[in-house]
C-alpha cells in the first residue's frame, strides 16, 4: 500500500467504514510509515474535535409550524388552509405555491387544464415549436427531461403499435412546466402531457371532446397524463391503452 492510498483509506478507517482486510493493510502500512501514523492521529483528533462540537442548526419554530400545517390533518380539512400553511417567503416558496396550485384544483380549474392543453396543442402545431428534442429514440427523449422537470415522464416508443414517437418538449399548463411527449399517427399529431400528481390510485381514463379535439386523461403511478389530438376518439383511446400496456412492461 502506498501513502496515497493510505491517505484516503485512513478516513474510512476512522469512520468505521473499512472492511477487516483493508483495515489490516492500513495498520500494517502505518506501522512502518511515521508520516501515515501521524496523519492517522491528526485526523482522529480532527474528527473528535468536530464530533465534540455542536455544529447542527435548529430549525426555527415558525418553520416547523409552517411545514407541519402544510399537510392535512383532522383539524385542517380545508384545502385553502393547505395553501395558507405554506406561507410565501422567497422565490422557492413562490415556486412551491405555483406547483401546489395544480394539486389543489377544483372542478373549475380541472376544466381550465383541458382548455390550456388545447391551447398548448395548438401552439405546438402553429409555432414550429412542436419538439425541443427531436428523436424517435426514447433513450434520447427521456434523459432530455432530466433536470428540466421535477418528474421523470414515461417515454415509450409505440412505433410498432402505429404511433410514432417524434420527440419531446417542455410546455406550460396552468403556469406549470410539464413534459410534452409528441407522437404521430399518419398525418396527425398527438401531444401527451405529463405532470406530477398527488394520488397514486389509477383513476379510470376519461375521454372528452373539446373545441374539436379529443382528449384522454388518466393517472398512473403518481402522474397525470393528458393526451390530445385531432384523431378520432377510438384511435385516441387505442393510443391510451397501448401506452398503458407498453408502460407496464417498462
Amino acid at each position: 500500500m502506498t501513502c496515497g492510498e493510505a491517505e484516503t483509506l485512513l478516513h474510512a478507517l476512522i469512520d468505521g467504514e473499512l472492511d477487516a482486510g483493508h483495515a489490516r493493510q492500513i495498520e500494517a502500512h502505518a506501522a512502518q510509515c511515521r508520516r501515515c501514523t501521524a496523519q492517522l492521529l491528526s485526523y482522529r483528533s480532527l474528527r473528535q474535535a468536530v464530533q465534540g462540537a455542536d455544529l447542527r442548526y435548529t430549525a426555527p419554530a415558525a418553520l416547523r409550524r409552517n411545514i407541519d400545517r402544510s399537510f392535512p390533518s383532522e383539524a385542517l380539512t380545508n384545502r385553502r388552509m393547505f395553501l395558507k400553511g405554506l406561507g410565501v417567503g422567497g422565490l422557492v416558496s413562490a415556486a412551491a405555491a405555483a406547483s401546489v396550485a395544480l394539486v389543489t384544483l377544483n372542478q373549475e380549474s380541472e376544466e381550465s387544464i383541458v382548455t390550456e392543453a388545447v391551447s398548448a396543442h395548438l401552439r405546438s402545431l402553429q409555432a414550429e415549436h412542436l419538439v425541443d428534442v427531436v428523436s424517435t429514440d426514447r433513450h434520447t427523449v427521456k434523459p432530455w427531461f432530466n433536470g428540466r422537470l421535477d418528474v421523470a415522464p414515461p417515454v415509450i416508443d409505440l412505433t410498432a403499435q402505429g404511433f410514432t414517437l417524434i420527440g419531446g418538449r417542455l410546455d406550460y399548463i396552468n403556469g406549470r412546466a410539464v413534459a410534452a411527449i409528441v407522437y404521430r399517427r399518419r398525418v396527425h399529431i398527438i401531444n401527451l402531457f405529463v405532470a406530477q400528481s398527488m394520488g397514486s390510485a389509477l383513476q379510470s381514463p376519461r375521454l372528452e371532446s373539446v373545441q374539436g379535439f379529443n382528449v384522454r386523461r388518466w393517472t398512473r403511478e403518481g402522474l397525470n397524463l393528458l393526451a390530445i389530438s385531432d384523431i378520432n376518439s377510438d384511435e385516441l383511446e387505442e393510443f391510451g391503452r397501448k401506452f398503458e400496456a407498453a408502460s407496464v412492461s417498462h
Partner: protein
C-alpha cells in the same frame, strides 16, 4: 388530483416519518445555502416535494431520502442564483479537481499533529468556507451522520468519490483549522 380526505392517513404517516428529520434538513440547507432565509425556504420546499413523492418512497431510511431531495432543491436555488450572479449553477456537480482522485499522490503537509479544540461557531464558519462538493460531503458525514453508501446514494456519485471528497474536505478543513489556531 385533488387533495382528498383519504390523503389524511398518508399525511399522518408522512408527518410521523419525515418531521423528526427537520433539523437535519435545515442544517444541511444552512451549510449549502449559507443563509438562514434561503435555508428555511429550501426546507419547506423539500418537505413539499417529499410529500408529493411520498407514494413512490420505497421504504428504507427516510433521512438520506429527504436529504437527497433537499439537495435537489438547493441545486435549483443555485441555478436561480446563477441567473443573477456568475456561474455557481453546477456547484454541487462540480468535477473532482485534477489529481485529487482516490489514488492520487498524498500532498505534502508537515502539520500532522493533533488539532486544538475550537468553538462551534468557528468550526461552522470554517466548514462553510469549503468548496460546495466537499462541504456537502463533510456535512453529510460528520453532522448528518450518513454512511458512505447513503452519501453516495444521496449525492449520486460512487462511494470512491465520496471517500476522496471526504479525504480532501478534511484535509482542507485541517489546514484552515491550523491557520485559525495560529491566528488565535
Amino acid at each position: 388530483m385533488q387533495f382528498e380526505i383519504g390523503d389524511r392517513g398518508k399525511a399522518e404517516r408522512f408527518r410521523a416519518a419525515a418531521l423528526p428529520y427537520l433539523d437535519d434538513v435545515y442544517t444541511l440547507a444552512r451549510y449549502l445555502l449559507k443563509n438562514p432565509t434561503d435555508a428555511e425556504d429550501a426546507a419547506q420546499e423539500c418537505y413539499l416535494r417529499a410529500f408529493r413523492h411520498f407514494a413512490t418512497f420505497r421504504g428504507g431510511p427516510m433521512k438520506p431520502w429527504l436529504l437527497a431531495i433537499l439537495r435537489n432543491v438547493c441545486k435549483d436555488e443555485f441555478a436561480r442564483r446563477a441567473r443573477f450572479s456568475a456561474a455557481q449553477a453546477d456547484a454541487l456537480n462540480e468535477a473532482e479537481p485534477k489529481n485529487e482522485g482516490l489514488w492520487a499522490e498524498a500532498p505534502r503537509s508537515p502539520e500532522t499533529e493533533a488539532v486544538q479544540r475550537l468553538d462551534g461557531e468557528t468550526i461552522q464558519r470554517l466548514i462553510s468556507e469549503l468548496p460546495t462538493a466537499f462541504r456537502e460531503t463533510l456535512v453529510l458525514r460528520e453532522i448528518n451522520d450518513l454512511s458512505y453508501r447513503e452519501i453516495a446514494d444521496a449525492t449520486g456519485v460512487p462511494v470512491g468519490t465520496v471517500m476522496s471528497r471526504l479525504a480532501r474536505a478534511r484535509e482542507m478543513l485541517r489546514t484552515a483549522w491550523q491557520a485559525e489556531e495560529a491566528s488565535a
